[in-house]
């Protein structure tokens, strides 16, 4: 067993993390958290999380940047907004989770091969390229990119049922004016640099 220090010294924390997340999430109320735990007890996913939402907010407040960005918690948030509507301090917790996801993707510190961030990126990529998501292609890309061919194989019976009921096709969906979407997205990209 390796003996490791379990507590961080203050100088190891990132004092700017809280304001960084406030800016990215558009939520200024993070400091108002009273650690009541309403969010964690409301969260349908907290039983699976490494840090429940209450802890994540405390970590953001105190500058535990690395831990927050590398946590599984942010990827397990299904955006059901239950915590957000119940928070007595009016902290937009779901929006904070989104901001953390974006930072983690930007810094490439999300758990690799973990299907959720891959799904988010693949879907965004499909939409940016074609203007529309095609469910079948999204699923195919998801299993390829997360290197899970077995998972894809397991999905086959369901895929067949969906095809039989006309609820899945190999057709690639696309908008007509892809040129317009492309110029819009490149203008947005330019401005954010």
């Amino acid at each position: 067993m390796k003996i490791q220090r379990k507590v961080k010294y203050e100088e190891e924390l990132d004092p700017d993390f809280s304001s960084e997340i406030k800016r990215a999430s558009g939520c200024d109320e993070i400091d108002k958290c009273i650690q009541c735990g309403t969010c964690s007890s409301s969260c349908p996913m907290s039983v699976y999380m490494d840090y429940p939402p209450r802890k994540i907010i405390a970590m953001v407040k105190s500058g535990f940047k690395d831990e927050a960005l590398r946590s599984f918690t942010i990827w397990l948030c299904p955006s059901c907004y239950t915590c957000q509507v119940r928070c007595p301090a009016k902290i937009k917790i779901t929006d904070v989770m989104y901001a953390l996801k974006r930072k983690a993707i930007g810094k490439k510190v999300y758990p690799s091969r973990f299907a959720i961030p891959i799904l988010d990126r693949e879907m965004s990529r499909l939409i940016a390229k074609y203007g529309r998501n095609s469910e079948m292609w999204l699923i195919l890309n998801l299993y390829l990119k997360s290197r899970n061919p077995l998972g894809l194989l397991k999905m086959a019976p369901l895929g067949l049922k969906l095809m039989k009921t006309g609820r899945m096709s190999l057709k690639r969906e696309s908008i007509k004016n892809k040129k317009q979407l492309k110029s819009l997205l490149s203008a947005i990209k330019e401005g954010s640099l």
């Binding site: 397990l76 955006s79 509507v85 989104y98 799904l119 965004s124 529309r132 203008a187 954010s192």
Partner: protein, 294 residues
Amino acid sequence: MNGYIYYPGCSLKESARPYEQSILPVFREVGLPLNELDDWNCCGATAYFSVDDTMAAAICGRNLSLAEKTGKDIIAPCAGCFLTLKKSNKFLTGGQPKAAKILNDLKNAGCEYRGTVDVKHPLEVLIREVGPSALRARVRRPLAGLNVACYYGCQLVRPFTDFDDPDYPTTLDALMGIAGATAVDFTAKTRCCGGSLTGTIEEVGLRLNYILLKEAKRKGADCIATLCPLCQFNLEITQSKIIRRYHEDLEMPILYFSQLLGLALGIPKSDLGLSRSIIPLKSLWTKLGNGGAK
């Protein structure tokens, strides 16, 4: 804005085709025929906001701009599209410098948006605008004896709570009552189905949907009425695995509320996408006492 333009989103064209196939005839029946927004693009759902929120707001802005040109408000049956478009609309019209920059980029790309469009869910329009009495007058075949668990899920009622209660909404219960069915006291009505997690972490998806099915069964529901493609999909496709894992008979038809309402309005069975159900609907027809009726 005058009238509504229909925004399908990706699901209603694929896995949720029965939703489109029932919502369109229902709206025709109540005198509000819907046309599809031309060249709409995907809303980006939760995915785009997890990757890039500026881009996410911009692609929603394109849809809002397309709708504005038609002079109509958006009607979005998918709860995910509804929330994403509504959230982006609030952001784009909120006056922040970041929003102003996006609006300017939209304008340069030929998608000027002045902020006049409202985003609505069909349930809201049916209850608030068509209204209970007009709906009641159109019910031709009441769903007498049918116990329905009304499942709202998350994104229709949260975080924007101007339409119904975020924890215990009742509009769908009221609508099913108008259709002649009995809405059971489904306490899990806004509990999460797992969203896309059901596809990415099976363990989580099975557990969350098990809780929903079990609660519906316990309350004596014959079927669950949904209003979101992902809720419907998750509850339907996880069923056989849930039954195998938990050794409980939890089989139950999972329908779109518009399919049930359509039946009550007297729209032929065959016009409501019911044949696309993966779960057999036999129990439903037995309950309604019209096994062979069209």
